[in-house]
Amino acid sequence: MSDRTAVWITGVGAATPLGNQYEQIADNLLAGRSGVRTVTAFDVSQHPSQIAGQIDPVPCPSGWDPEAFSQIHELEQLALWCCSQALVDSGWWERRQEVRLGLVLGVGAELQVMWETDSIKGGNLIYEPERYRESLVHRAGSKLGISGPAVTVSAACASGNHALAAARRWLELGIVDVCLAGACDMCATPMGLAGFGNLRALSRRNSEPAKASRPFDRNRDGFVMGEGGAMFVLEPATSARRRSARVYAEVAGCGASSDAHNMVIPSPNAEPAKVAMRQALADARLAPSEVDYVNAHATSTPVGDVAEARVLEGVFGEALPRIPVSSTKSMTGHLLTAAAAVEALSCLVAMERNAVPPTINLDDPDPECDLCHVPNQSRPHPVRVAVSNSFGFGGSNTCLILKAV
């Protein structure tokens, strides 16, 4: 980077349907394991879709009071776990108050989830908004001892990429020294499952949970909801070098656009999504042929997967048949607001392990999605440049490019 400071990822914290630790998640991703199962936390007998990628109870971070931790909402536990683990992993935890540490948290339905959980317990929080004095990002910021700016961003399923782009921007501008960025979501609630179910967006393959999320497969019938999150520590390359920090990757390129078409229905015009990808490539100063892996948004919906295939064809052209493409949502389910962040993590795994995670359940590829698939088993492959697409409700298209350092 000649005209601005390169920004590197130096810490990771996550809780996903495939585990709560980086190594465990990486192992499960590359083993092609599914984290999707029947929802048992509440009665799903009347729900059209009864399955989800669910996380285990969020562990209490080391050094925290387990009793106090157990009293806070699961979504806040999730955010605190991911943030604290990322800070510990980066080596900043003990020194976090020596720097201006920012926080950009992607979370789309914080209030809806809080209101619903409270209502189920017989509370009245939704009727008394004055009681909700501080948003999750500020409560978490206080508990983590964060001194810099803290904001919540949401572009539905594209939130995590926007969060990483915003954090990189803050670092470039110098308004923070180090920044936590990523996204968390716990939307697999009774209302969430019902709302998306009634939207006819979810898979109804309830009898085979692990086979339900099947992006690019001819027999896909909708996405599977998931929950979890991933947070990253971003800092300037100069700072990481000075500390001799472990570096996962450079946040090399970000692109974003809007369809401006419909709040729900994907646009028949692939151009805005192509623009987002081309912006990201230009930002990273990379040619399409230099990309080693694409983590597709591909949610396993009939329309969306084909639309993304068209976008990839348009952007990569003749290079496309040589670039492995997979959708890790086949294993995690679709983590909605947190999807982009967890998929960025999947890209880091691919880069670190030099292996492309598979699209599981891809038994009969849809001929309309003629891509260089990685079906069912991971593929050894050197990955120096990974692209992660995330598209969301409201017509948001985002593309993130991570580059090995």
Partner: protein
């Protein structure tokens, strides 16, 4: 954009994020007015809203569009001006009434009673998505904040996005009810208003006349490592405070500022043709109805 100083270089010049307010629109709409707009919304020339565009929309989305359109009309901005702009929507407690209704219905009817329109139209990203759709803006759109600090989060984030080098401009639209509605009774008849403030932010220009927004670090422009909750600011900046600051003043000279939760400082200054000096004014105390309870402005009454 002038960046904040890095900790290695404590600046002697004034370091800040700066942008000009190319246009702004500010509305305060009663439930009756919102109902009328939902049924018959007159968009400015050149904008054709799809049939039934507001059918499932939140009241805050309707108010947001009204504010954007007011800004465009005031400044004479054509709809095709914003094709690649950012759109940020910063609502406060969007979808609360709809969610309360949905929870009640869910308890009675079960899963089938939950409207599929609830999530797409009553979520944090819904306002920015609707604006991008209405104005055919293909730049990025996303929601920001969601709670009581939405305005502050939105203004900070939008200031970081305005970039003279690309160039990039931003619509930031802040919305919220004041006071929050009693959702156990119908909105109509309640003494409440849905407020919306839309700012079109562009890179600063030497010959600009109008409002300029700055975000600086406090005092010596050093950096604070105090945790957020230990700092002197306990209440976030509200959209109503910014609405007040931008309201027409009798003498047309004005500057307002607010400390931010993170230790930064936001000012709005009216850039006037020289040699008129800008004055300072004290903002209103919050009326308490939105729970902010914070003094809006700083300084003393009109120095000039």
């Amino acid at each position: 954009m002038k960046p904040f100083p890095s900790p290695q270089m404590k600046a002697t010049t004034a370091p800040c994020l700066e942008c000009d307010v190319l246009a702004f629109g500010s509305v305060s709409l009663t439930p009756q007015e919102l109902q009328q707009l939902r049924q018959n919304f007159k968009a400015p020339e050149g904008i054709k809203l799809p049939q039934g565009f507001f059918k499932h929309a939140s009241e805050q989305t309707i108010a947001a569009l009204a504010a954007v359109f007011q800004a465009m009309t005031r400044q004479g901005l054509a709809a095709n001006t914003f094709a690649d702009w950012y759109v940020l929507g910063a609502p406060r407690f969007i979808g609360r009434a709809a969610m309360a209704g949905a929870l009640t219905k869910f308890k009675i009817e079960g899963a089938w009673g939950v409207s599929p329109h609830l999530i797409p139209h009553r979520s944090l990203h819904s306002i920015s998505g609707a604006i991008s759709q209405a104005l055919k803006i293909h730049g990025p759109n996303f929601g920001i904040g969601g709670g009581r600090s939405s305005a502050e989060e939105g203004l900070l984030t939008s200031a970081t996005l305005v970039d003279a080098s690309r160039p990039t401009a931003v619509w930031i639209v802040m919305t919220g009810w004041d006071p929050e509605p009693e959702i156990t009774t119908p909105n109509i008849g309640q003494n409440i208003a849905c407020n919306a403030l839309a700012l079109a932010l562009v890179p600063i220009r030497a010959d600009f006349q109008g409002w300029r927004m700055r975000i600086t670090r406090p005092e010596d422009f050093g950096y604070s490592t105090e945790p957020v909750n230990k700092q002197r600011v306990s209440e976030p900046l509200s959209l109503e405070q910014v609405q007040w600051a931008l309201a027409p003043m009798s003498n047309g000279k004005f500057m307002a500022g607010w400390p931010l939760l993170n230790g930064g400082y936001l000012t709005l200054e009216q850039i006037l043709p020289s040699p008129v000096k800008n004055g300072w004014a004290r903002g209103p105390h919050c009326n308490g109805t939105n729970g902010t309870g914070k003094t809006a402005g700083i300084g003393t009454e009109a120095k000039s």
